[in-house]
Subunit: 226 residues, 2 copies
Amino acid sequence: MRILVVEDDADLRRQLGEALKDSGYAVDLADNGEDGHFLGDTEPYDAVVLDLGLPIIDGISVLQKWRADGKTFPVLILTARDQWSEKVSGFDAGADDYLTKPFHHEELLARLRALLRRAAGHTTDSIDIGGLHVDNRAARCFVDGMPVKLTSHEFRLLSYMAMHRGRVISRTELVEHIYDQDFDRDSNTIEVFVGRLRRKIGTNRIETVRGLGYRLIDPDNVPVKK
Amino acid sequence: MRILVVEDDADLRRQLGEALKDSGYAVDLADNGEDGHFLGDTEPYDAVVLDLGLPIIDGISVLQKWRADGKTFPVLILTARDQWSEKVSGFDAGADDYLTKPFHHEELLARLRALLRRAAGHTTDSIDIGGLHVDNRAARCFVDGMPVKLTSHEFRLLSYMAMHRGRVISRTELVEHIYDQDFDRDSNTIEVFVGRLRRKIGTNRIETVRGLGYRLIDPDNVPVKK
DNA sequence: CCCCATATTCAGATTGTGTTCAGGGGTGTA
DNA sequence: TACACCCCTGAACACAATCTGAATATGGGG
């Protein structure tokens, strides 16, 4: 999952970035409306945290532009306590949730998770696929009840695939959602991670579709032809 | 499905080419208006992605020429954000859809699928023909509910025939839509693929029309005959 | 009954994937 | 600060699926 944070306060921006990375997200940061808008337009984020009081272009305008362009990623807006009216215009502009400053990081994380899973059409923080349990809240994973230790990138990979289970996901899509902006895509890291994941959660859970990508499946629920 | 991409920016061109190939299309690339126009005139594309700001001949002119020549393939134009007025002239010139740069690959793919299926007169990404289900989005195929594993070229063949179900399709047409430019057509690959496809989805679904080509049919719904 | 279009088979060639590993950077601990 | 450890990255190599083109078989139509 890849998140964009647009926040002009340097301290808060840094803190948010760290908190989100700690939670296993790929994070890009912007400190003004213009850069933020450009990034949101260019990169395929899974969610955006958007401050409303921004230099150059204000948050509401940024959000409006995105929505006018058909961007559908969930947006969580941050407002100062005394700018209550902004909340309203925020929702009008297409925000999905808001948080008033100051707030606890915990709360931000919880709301973000909720947005992400809602966007993926799930209703809980965890996903079960034939004995495989992926807990996005705790960033943990179990196979047949036994905890499996995953590194952060392994978990991101699994989590993204679980969110889009059953669908074929191309390497390009995986790279775009697992890494943040600057990543040199011509290497075989994805294959390497898929390999390691398979060793940990079982080879038959990740199906490779030659020429297209990978798909997470329930190995016990594949109607076999022939 | 065979796509032409006319884009002068080398990076973007390469990226688009890869993303489209990842999705299973045959792709030709052109980096200027003149070459692009020539290719569109010469080869039977199923859709074209056309940048408007091009060297030698600009995109709008290219599009106008094609339309004046009676080319009907769907065209998706790419415009820079600040060239909004171009969009209008683009539509006037006969474009079917547009996307402003920068954009997500996923969005381009979605719009392209929409254009392709619209051009073929369908309204969804998947097609059913008497127990045969072809899902162009997931690049999957089912026979009587059972998933059938196809290789990428097998799927392209099936997909093209499904888009034009009921019609007789010549070998030449198949070759032209399944492969990109540089392909040596004097071999019997098509027969080979048809053979393999028949073995996988059932012999009676692909009818041979001697001297003309093949036709995809519903074996349970053949209007008598014979 | 012969000819030609179509089918089938098969063995390289080619391309796409999996695995392994060493070096580097980061993190936590003494 | 130095040390130990873990993870990520990129490259090299091993392996596998798929594609291709040719050789060979089959069958319909004149």
